[in-house]
């Protein structure tokens, strides 16, 4: 082939190339390029997706092991944080109870209090006693009243050096001299086997109503006066009876006792020497 012919071919190619570029830039080749490129793009997509699948298959065991390890770490961390939350919630509850007890002690400056934690309950289902973690080493003595910020709980029944047993007012052997407000009527509060409170020996005709407040009267010297016990929740009155009785809803939730206050400056009066020997059972 001669030189002139090769030059002509080159010029023709260049012109075709320039023409195609010009057509492409002008957008005239788009339909053709779409037809040509679409299958290629589809093919490329398929090839790449297959590559990714193969890569995942090859890397999976390593990832799963790493993820499992991470999962275990996170689960351990979650457990630790949950335990921490429970502990903090417990501390918060204790702090709230103590704060309420401190407020109560400040509101009643005439008494000196010793706070004690409840550490157990009497094993017998017939008795309602609690055990507290303060004893004679903390100046706790038999007969001292036990209260919470809500009201009367009971009194100390037995003491050791570092612990004491408290008879709750709901115990069937507990008796508290009480008065009903606003009438000021005197009555006797007795614990029941069921754990309820019964206000007995209320004179017939005494003006009492459901919702009246029941407080300690202080009579008999067993408890200090004016400690809140609860509210009258029901009245039983028969015309033929000498006395009427009433059920009392205690202000203290005896199932939720955690911390109590012992009134350490109160000494119960021992009336036994004043009772004639013949009248004792």
């Amino acid at each position: 082939m001669s030189t002139a012919s090769r030059n002509l071919q080159t010029i023709v190619f260049v012109l075709i190339a320039v023409g195609l570029i010009a057509l492409a830039l002008g957008g005239y080749l788009n339909p053709f390029s779409r037809i040509l490129l679409n299958p290629l793009i589809e093919l490329q997509t398929w090839v790449y997706s297959r590559y990714q699948v193969a890569q995942n298959v090859l890397r999976a065991p390593q990832d799963i092991a790493r993820l499992q390890q991470r999962n275990l770490q996170l689960e351990a961390q979650v457990s630790q944080l949950q335990a921490q939350i429970i502990e903090l919630q417990q501390q918060l509850t204790e702090a709230r109870i103590l704060s309420a007890l401190v407020d109560f002690a400040r509101a009643n400056p005439e008494n000196r209090y010793q706070a004690a934690a409840v550490i157990g309950r009497d094993p017998s289902p017939f008795l309602r006693y609690i055990l507290i973690n303060r004893g004679s080493d903390d100046n706790i003595r038999r007969g001292m009243p036990v209260v919470t910020q809500q009201g009367l709980v009971g009194r100390i029944d037995a003491v050791t050096a570092n612990a004491a047993r408290v008879q709750l007012i709901t115990d069937s052997g507990a008796v508290v001299n009480a008065k009903i407000q606003p009438s000021g009527t005197q009555a006797v509060l007795k614990g029941q086997v069921s754990g309820d409170l019964l206000l007995d020996l209320i004179p017939q005709g005494a003006p009492i109503e459901v919702g009246n407040l029941v407080l300690t009267s202080g009579l008999g010297g067993g408890y200090p006066p004016n400690i809140v016990i609860g509210q009258i929740s029901g009245i039983r009155s028969q015309p033929q009876d000498i006395f009427q009785s009433a059920t009392v809803q205690s202000v203290v939730d005896f199932n939720q006792l955690e911390i109590v206050l012992v009134i350490v400056n109160f000494r119960p009066v021992n009336l036994e020497p004043l009772i004639p020997q013949g009248s004792q059972p």
């Binding site: 550490i119 157990g120 309950r121 009497d122 094993p123 017998s124 289902p125 017939f126 008795l127 006693y129 055990l131 029944d157 037995a158 047993r165 008879q167 069937s172 052997g173 029941q192 086997v193 069921s194 754990g195 199932n255 059972p281």
Partner: protein, 168 residues
């Protein structure tokens, strides 16, 4: 060793009973882990210290309870006496004996407790105590009788490995 084991068994059980289970009443009934343990121990043929266990258990419970002195002593020794009688009468002690003795033991303990409290001047409502205390306590005791019987059996086998199988 068996007597020392009584303290090691009873003290944690008593702590669980007064610290945890006493806060979880079923109506008004509570389980008596000490009673069940004494029963499970007494019903084992190889055991020779049933009375000792009853005495130790009763003293420990009396120490923490406000129940009049002697109530648990009388109750637990009575229950051990009955359990030993059952052990002699029944050639093999099946698990059924444990369950029957759990009912009898709970009844004996509750009856003696109730009688003692009544004598000390407390009110006595038989229908209420039967429905709200005795029946739930039996149910609760059944629940604990199964695992305690198995555990005490293992302890008895460990403490009396060479004891003969017949009753002397």
């Amino acid at each position: 060793m068996a007597i020392l084991a009584a303290f090691l068994v009873f003290i944690p059980l008593l702590m669980i009973q007064i610290g945890i289970l006493a806060n979880l009443p079923l109506i008004q009934g509570y389980p008596d882990l000490i009673l069940i343990t004494i029963l499970a121990w007494s019903l084992r043929r190889e055991v020779r210290t049933a009375w000792h266990w009853a005495l130790i258990g009763a003293l420990l419970v009396t120490w923490v309870s406000a129940m009049p002195f002697g109530v648990y002593l009388l109750a637990y020794t009575s229950v051990v006496g009955l359990a030993l009688l059952v052990r002699r009468m029944v050639w093999r002690i099946p698990f059924l004996s444990m369950l029957v003795m759990t009912i009898i033991g709970t009844f004996v303990t509750d009856s003696i407790s109730q009688l003692a409290l009544q004598l000390s001047g407390r009110p006595f409502v038989i229908e209420y105590t039967f429905a709200a205390i005795f029946l739930p306590s039996v149910l609760y005791n059944f629940l604990f009788a199964i695992p305690i019987y198995a555990l005490i059996g293992e302890l008895a086998r460990w403490l009396y490995p060479l004891e003969p199988l017949y009753e002397s």
